[in-house]
C-alpha cells in the first residue's frame, strides 16, 4: 500500500454512510449492492458512488458473480489504518496515566 493510499483510506472511512457499509461487511461476507445500501437513505446511484470511493481507497474489492457484483472487505488496507490510530491512542493512554500519577502525588 502506497502512502497516498493510506491517506485516502482515512478519508474514505470518515463518512457515516461508508462506515455503515463497512460494518455490514465486517464479518467478511460478500454482499451485493442492494444489501449494502439498504435502509441507508441513499439511491442506488448514490450507493454506487460511495462504494466506488471505498474501492479507490482499497477498503473493499469488487467480485463479479454472474450478473451481479459482490462487495467484500480488503483486510490488508484497513489493518494499516487501525495500526496508526491504535498507536496514537496507546500513546495518549500512557500520557494520561502519567498525568494522573503526577497530579495525585
Amino acid at each position: 500500500m502506497s502512502q497516498a493510499a493510506v491517506a485516502q483510506l482515512f478519508k474514505a472511512l470518515g463518512d457515516p454512510v461508508r462506515l455503515q457499509m463497512v460494518q455490514r461487511l465486517s464479518n467478511g461476507a460478500a454482499l451485493c449492492l442492494g444489501e449494502l445500501s439498504k435502509d441507508l437513505g441513499i439511491s442506488r446511484q448514490g450507493a454506487r458512488k460511495q462504494i466506488q470511493t471505498l474501492v479507490s481507497a482499497r477498503v473493499v474489492q469488487l467480485h463479479p458473480r454472474g450478473r451481479e457484483v459482490k462487495v467484500q472487505l480488503d483486510a490488508a488496507a484497513l489493518a494499516q489504518g487501525r495500526a496508526f490510530i491504535a498507536s496514537l491512542e496507546a500513546q495518549w493512554e500512557q500520557r494520561l496515566q502519567a498525568l494522573k500519577q503526577f497530579t495525585e502525588q
Binding site: V6, S26, A83, E89, F102, T103
Partner: protein, 148 residues
C-alpha cells in the same frame, strides 16, 4: 468530517492542580515532554522535546484556567519544527470537569487526522493486523464522535 481520538479518565486531584499540570511548562515536563521551550501561552508557539532528538512544535490554541487547554501540533512520531499553523495538523484538547471536591474527569480529544499528509500516518504504521471487531469498534468511536 474529522477523525477523532477520545480518552477520559478520573483523577483524584483538584481542577486547579490538573490544569496547572497541563498548562504550566515546569509541571508539564514532569509527565509529558522532557522539556518545553518558547512561549507556552494562548496564541503563542512553543516546542516540546522528547528525549535527545525528537522535537515537536505546538501552537497554544486556548488556555482557560482550571477548565480547558488546547494546542495544535503534527502527531505521529515525526519531528516537526516549523509553524504548525502552516501545515495540516491536529487539535489536542484537555477538558477538566470537577465531579466532587478533589475529584475530576479529564477528557482528552485529538481531532484532524483525515487532513494529515500520508507520510505522517505511514511513519507510524506497523505490521500489526488485528481482528475486525476490534478495529471497527475503534474506528466507529473515532469517526462518529464528531457526528454526534
Amino acid at each position: 468530517m474529522q477523525n477523532v481520538i477520545q480518552r477520559e479518565l478520573l483523577i483524584n486531584a483538584t481542577a486547579e492542580r490538573i490544569y496547572n499540570a497541563i498548562a504550566k511548562p515546569e509541571q508539564l515536563v514532569k509527565w509529558f515532554p522532557d522539556s518545553v521551550t518558547g512561549d507556552y501561552r494562548q496564541g503563542s508557539h512553543a516546542q516540546f522535546k522528547f528525549g535527545e532528538n525528537h522535537k515537536s512544535n505546538v501552537f497554544v490554541e486556548a488556555a482557560s484556567p482550571n477548565h480547558y487547554f488546547a494546542y495544535r501540533w503534527v502527531p505521529g512520531g515525526n519531528n516537526f519544527t516549523d509553524d504548525v499553523l502552516t501545515v495540516p495538523h491536529t487539535l489536542v484538547e484537555f477538558r477538566i470537569t470537577e465531579l466532587a471536591p478533589g475529584r475530576c474527569k479529564v477528557s482528552l480529544t485529538e481531532t484532524g487526522f483525515a487532513n494529515l499528509p500520508p507520510e505522517i500516518a505511514a511513519n507510524s504504521f506497523s505490521e500489526n493486523s488485528g481482528g475486525w471487531d476490534f478495529m471497527l469498534g475503534r474506528l466507529q468511536q473515532y469517526f462518529m464522535a464528531e457526528a454526534k
